[in-house]
Symmetry: C2
Subunit: 184 residues, 2 copies
Amino acid sequence: MGDIREPLRELIECGLPQALEVMGERWAFMILRASFNGLHHFEEFLSELGIARNILSNRLAKLVEHGILKREPCADDRRKIEYRLTEKGFDLLPAMIALRQWGQKYSHEPVIEDPVLVDEQDRLPIGPVSMLSHDGRVLDHLGLNMIRRADIGRRADGTIATPAGEIGDGDVIDLSSAKRAVRK
Amino acid sequence: MGDIREPLRELIECGLPQALEVMGERWAFMILRASFNGLHHFEEFLSELGIARNILSNRLAKLVEHGILKREPCADDRRKIEYRLTEKGFDLLPAMIALRQWGQKYSHEPVIEDPVLVDEQDRLPIGPVSMLSHDGRVLDHLGLNMIRRADIGRRADGTIATPAGEIGDGDVIDLSSAKRAVRK
DNA sequence: TAATTAGGTTGCAGGTTGCAACTAAAAACT
DNA sequence: AGTTTTTAGTTGCAACCTGCAACCTAATTA
């Protein structure tokens, strides 16, 4: 009845579209970076980024609306407004830095960044942003797979892996969520 | 002579603008994700993403131009063209997944992704994409700092950290690159 | 040979971006 | 006190980008 294919769902259920709703817009990441870099005021962003006034106004409003920046009038100078990263904003750092590192890696003119992002403890530049397994091993794209939700933990040899340990072939497991699989 | 302030440089020299030149455009990440998900042909992207034909055409061309996808006519059916991720394309995975995870974390309707991205070894879902120190410790935004390039490795207490070990206060070091600092 | 499929291109309506000029309110100077 | 400057916007307009629908071309299939 009707040829309403139902595509998209699979691809929409993944967090990416939500993320891109805000961060997919031009300047969003540049503002985020400037913000992390210690800029807090409209005119600072304006002159450092070279963005148009109206666009900056619009973008800041949208970032505030999405809870990535918080907007509060300055106590000492009530003309000034402070834009500061929220926790949600800081949580975008891995994505932003991963993007930067990728851009750097494949940039034609080699990039000599200054200021440099360092680990506070030893003040040495951080390593590459990495994909980790559930138990902390660094993974590359060859070590990754897309599988059906139902097959989580089911390895080729028939054994089932869990975050806690292993389960043998004959064991009955709760298929609804291999993460919480239990021996019966 | 002239008031040509020289802003931007600091913020341009960071890899982000380069990355955003391609990946900042609408659909770029969605196409990347579809590609990683096993789609290779024009019509597949078209029906799965719900993107307009002309835009898809344009975006694919741009991704190919930037070396993120490679475009090759199919051997068996010369109408068909295969779009496949290059190494450069796969290198965008940390950024893409970080973005997805962030989108998921802050999504209102909780996202139950299927298919799921798993570690090939144990087929368990991967952990959060993470920022790592040079020696592999997981860092959060509180453990990060932006410092001048010249201050790399210089800690508050005057000691100098290097990837290899420690250097005392009186030691002479090669300032040009603290990463390769040596005792004299 | 005609119909279908794959991958585009073209034209047009509507939305977004960006420059420049204007505004409103608070602060600083005279 | 009155004028000027600074901060954070808004408005108008031109150029560019998006997306829908229709069209095009080459290869394959019926």
